[in-house]
Structure formats: structure tokens, C-alpha cells
Subunit: 293 residues, 2 copies
């Protein structure tokens, strides 16, 4: 039996940056809040609470404390209300997400009807949508377009979608509109991680995907793996069942962009235990296959 | 045995318009010239010569006669030279082709690197290309892109290409550029004719494609048919060999956008003769399956 991890697993640039901003801000303040979870990982959010970085779910709960804007961004109207209420804002929105908001706004201002590839209930998409005053079409895939026809259409994507889904959407739209302007806003780190995960899944008998159950990019990794091999999406090591590894030779691991290294290490050690390997590791770098590109 | 014609075969709007413009102009002038063939059909070009509408191949041969710009358009520098030489210009460029020239120019002016889907040696593409001062990439299909990467790319198509080829190109470019602006300049009549031809080819044992050997849209019809069934691309009835119809039950006919009705009727009658049918028709409307949408 061997256990390997997909290259480029774990924290991405935007998540690292948001956590760093939160920790620096907390050293300068008694207590700060994040409006919604800073990142989509309950374990990391719990850890931040130990540092007095408290998650609140609405503006009413802020009580004038300095407020960090989560990595996924927030709706424009919420930002406006924070400013109106004179609340100190620390913006930890991923720069790639902010850029996508700018594109949404400028496409709309240039007269393009906007289509967003994404999950309409995800905070990133809810925020993105709020930057456009006109009607917006949000689809999770090309099929959801139905028979809709457009004249002049602008297309952007939630940063964590699969590039293949954007390609399908664009292909369909060629015959559905006169003109389209496509800005590929899928984060490059997302694409690279998905490709590394796909490669490992092809060589594995079972895949363990680690990350928040509310994390869009982690769910996408699970979806990619499921199309190839038996897959389990977990948040923490305790969820592991040793039956999963019976008669399995190649065990593959991958983790979403908001999954902390220590959670990945715990999962790896737990798998070793399940398969009767007495070794233990302390660092993610020691997991076979680990590599950041 | 039955012989049927694909719906929407023969003259398109742009060809009809060009011929009409030429004929009206010729009634008002002793002799007029077209710079290059007015349309890509040698039989029609010969017929126009009988009306003193003479094809010349270079500006030197014009001799101050009123000059018709062919349906495919001409290079900008040629137009400029005609104006400089004070030659009377009658522009019979297909309005859809002119529109594509405008799009090429405006995409380039807006800072988009231009990609044209088309045949680099076709007069329409040569003319189109001349409206852009910057470097232009011309590809006949997505494969010809090679490994090229782009930042901000504008995509247009020769009006007679297959929409599937534009879709392939766009799909490939999603991962090759940050932003793309696609204007679907494929003529709708071309797409409709291709689809009708495809449908008939599926139900036929042999396909006869009628039209100029230099006609881009006719060659595309032949390509579509060849992928499904034995196909012969001819210009005139005399090229027909009765062996083609041996043991064939369903014979399909289609014709390019520049193929005159009388040529199609001659071909149909010749096929009837080959298969031992003594009937004859006079009008294209009498061919089974004929319909304009």
C-alpha cells in the first residue's frame, strides 16, 4: 500500500494572504471580527477564534469592532453599510476575486449582458453579482442556459470553477449570441490543483479529499475525483473509516485551497494508522508526492 | 432511385445582390469591369461577360471603366488606389462581409490582437486582413494555433466557415488568453445551408455538390458531405459520370451560394438521364426537396 498527496494541495495565495492580514490585524487590536467565515474551513475558523478573530454573521453583531472582509468578498451593499456605520474595514478579499468584481462592473458598463459561471448561493458569486445593476444570468454549467439567446454577452466565472465548464459554456454561446466577451477569471492555482488532483486520481484506487464541506473549490476536487475512483470528502481525520482502505493498493490525498497543513498531516497520519503503518510525520513536506509548483 | 436537393441550395442574398448591382450598372454603361470574379462561379462569370460585364484581374486592365467591387470585397489598398486613380467604384461587397471588415478594424482599434478563422489565400480573408494594421493570426482550424498564447484577443471568421470550427477555436483559446472577444461573423445563410446539406447527406448514398471549384462555401459543403458519404464536387452537368449512381438508391444534391439555378437544373436533368429517367424539369422549384427558408 502507498499513500500519496496531489501536488499543489492546500492553502492558496488568497487564503494565506487573508489569514496573514487577520493575524497582523489581531495583534494590533483587542478583538476583531470577520463578517462570515474568513475562509471556508471550519477548523481554521475555530483556530482564528482562539486568537480573538471572531466570526459574526451579520452587521448587527459587529458592535463597532474592526471588521475583516472575508476572502470571498462581500456584497457591495454590505460594504456600503459598513462605511455608513463608520466601521473600520480591513479588506482580505482575494485580489483575484476583487479583480473579477471589477471585470463584472466594467463588462456591464460597456453594455454587455453578464453571465456568471458559478454557484448562485456561494458568497463569492453573491458578492460578484452585487456589482452589476442590470439583470445577470448565473449558471452552474452550460446546460442551465436552456434556450436563452443573447445579443452582446459578457462571461466571467467564479474563481474556483473548472475550466472545462467555462469552455462548454463558451462553445454553447457561440451560436446563442452575436458577440461575446470572455474573461477567464478562473484562478490559475485552482486549475493547477485540479489538474494535479486529476492526475493522482487516475493512479489511485481511492481518493481522500480534505476540506470544508462548504468550500466550493474542495467540492469541485471531490467531483473531479468521483468521476474516476471511489472518493471520500472529509473535513478532519476523525471522519476516516479504516474500511475505506481494504483491498486498496494506491491511496490518494488532496486538499482544497482553504485546508490548513496541520489538518492534512493529521489525515495522513490517521491513514497510516488505519493501514497498519506505525510511522508518523510532522510536516506536510514529508508526505510522498508533496510539491508546490 | 430518388434524387433530392438540400433545402436552401444555391444563390444567397449577397450573391443575388451583387449580380443585381452588376446588371443594373451595365444597363447604364457601355462596358463595366469587375475586379476579380464578381462571385466564385465561372459559369455565372461567363454569362455576365455576355452582358459586357468584364472580369479583369488587375488595376492596370481597368482603363478608366466603371469598376464593380466583387462580393468578397477587396483589399483596402486597392480601394485606395482606385480612388486615387479617379475610377468610378460600384461596391457590390456583400454587406455581411463589409460588416466583418468593420469588426476587424474596431477590434484592432480597441487593442485586441486579431485572429481570423479562414483561408489565408481567399480574397475575402485577404481583404479582411488589410483592414488591420497590426499583426493578424489567420488559422483554418484550432489546430493551426499551435502553442501560441495571447493576452487580449479578438476573434472573427470568414463568413463561410463552419460554426463548429469557430467553437473549437474559441474552446482552445479559453486556456490560451486572459480575455477574448468573439464576434460570430459566420453568415447565417451559410450555417443554414450547411445544416440542410448535412441532413440530406445523412439520408443519401451519394452526394453531388455543385459550385465553383474556387468557391469557399461550396468546398465546405463538399467537406461536410465527404465526412458522411461518397461525394463528387462538380461545376457543370458535363462532369457527371453515370457510374457514380450504380447501386445507389438515394442521390443527394446541394449547391453553393454562388451556383446559378440553371446550372443546378442542368445537373438534375443530367442525373435523371444517367439513371434512365426520361423526365426533364425547367425550374429549380421542381426538384424534390427544394425549399428556401
Amino acid at each position: 500500500m502507498n499513500v500519496r498527496i496531489a501536488k499543489n494541495s492546500g492553502f492558496c495565495f488568497g487564503v494565506k494572504r487573508a489569514i496573514k492580514i487577520a493575524l497582523i490585524t489581531s495583534t494590533e487590536n483587542h478583538e476583531i471580527v470577520t463578517l462570515g467565515p474568513l475562509i471556508h474551513n471550519p477548523q481554521m475558523v475555530a483556530k482564528l477564534e482562539e486568537e480573538d478573530i471572531i466570526k459574526v454573521d451579520s452587521i448587527d453583531q459587529i458592535n463597532k469592532r474592526p471588521t475583516i472582509i472575508r476572502s470571498h468578498g462581500v456584497k457591495k451593499e454590505i460594504l456600503d453599510e459598513l462605511i455608513k456605520n463608520d466601521i473600520e474595514i480591513i479588506n482580505a478579499t482575494c485580489p483575484y476575486v476583487s479583480k473579477t468584481q471589477d471585470y463584472a462592473q466594467s463588462l456591464s458598463e460597456d453594455g454587455y449582458e453578464l453571465i456568471i459561471l458559478g454557484d448562485r448561493n456561494h458568497p463569492e458569486v453573491e458578492a460578484l453579482r452585487s456589482y452589476v445593476e442590470q439583470e445577470v444570468t448565473i449558471v452552474a454549467n452550460a446546460d442551465e442556459l436552456g434556450d436563452k439567446q443573447f445579443k452582446k454577452v459578457g462571461i466571467i466565472s467564479q474563481t474556483t470553477r473548472r475550466v472545462e465548464d467555462l469552455q462548454d459554456l463558451v462553445t454553447k454561446l457561440v451560436t446563442r449570441c452575436h458577440e461575446m466577451r470572455v474573461i477567464n477569471t478562473i484562478c490559475n492555482a485552482t486549475t493547477i490543483r485540479q489538474n494535479s488532483t486529476l492526475e493522482l486520481a487516475k493512479e489511485s484506487d481511492v481518493m481522500i479529499v480534505i476540506g470544508g464541506k462548504n468550500s466550493s473549490n474542495t467540492k469541485m476536487l471531490a467531483k473531479i475525483c468521483e468521476s474516476l475512483v471511489k472518493t471520500h470528502h472529509i473535513e478532519i481525520a476523525d471522519e476516516i473509516d479504516d474500511k475505506w482502505f481494504k483491498h486498496k493498493q494506491n491511496i490518494g490525498l488532496t486538499a482544497g485551497a482553504s485546508t490548513p497543513d496541520w489538518v492534512i498531516v493529521e489525515v495522513y497520519n490517521k491513514i497510516l494508522e488505519c493501514i497498519g503503518n506505525i510511522n508518523k510525520i510532522d510536516n506536510i513536506e514529508d508526505i510522498p508526492g508533496f510539491k508546490e509548483e
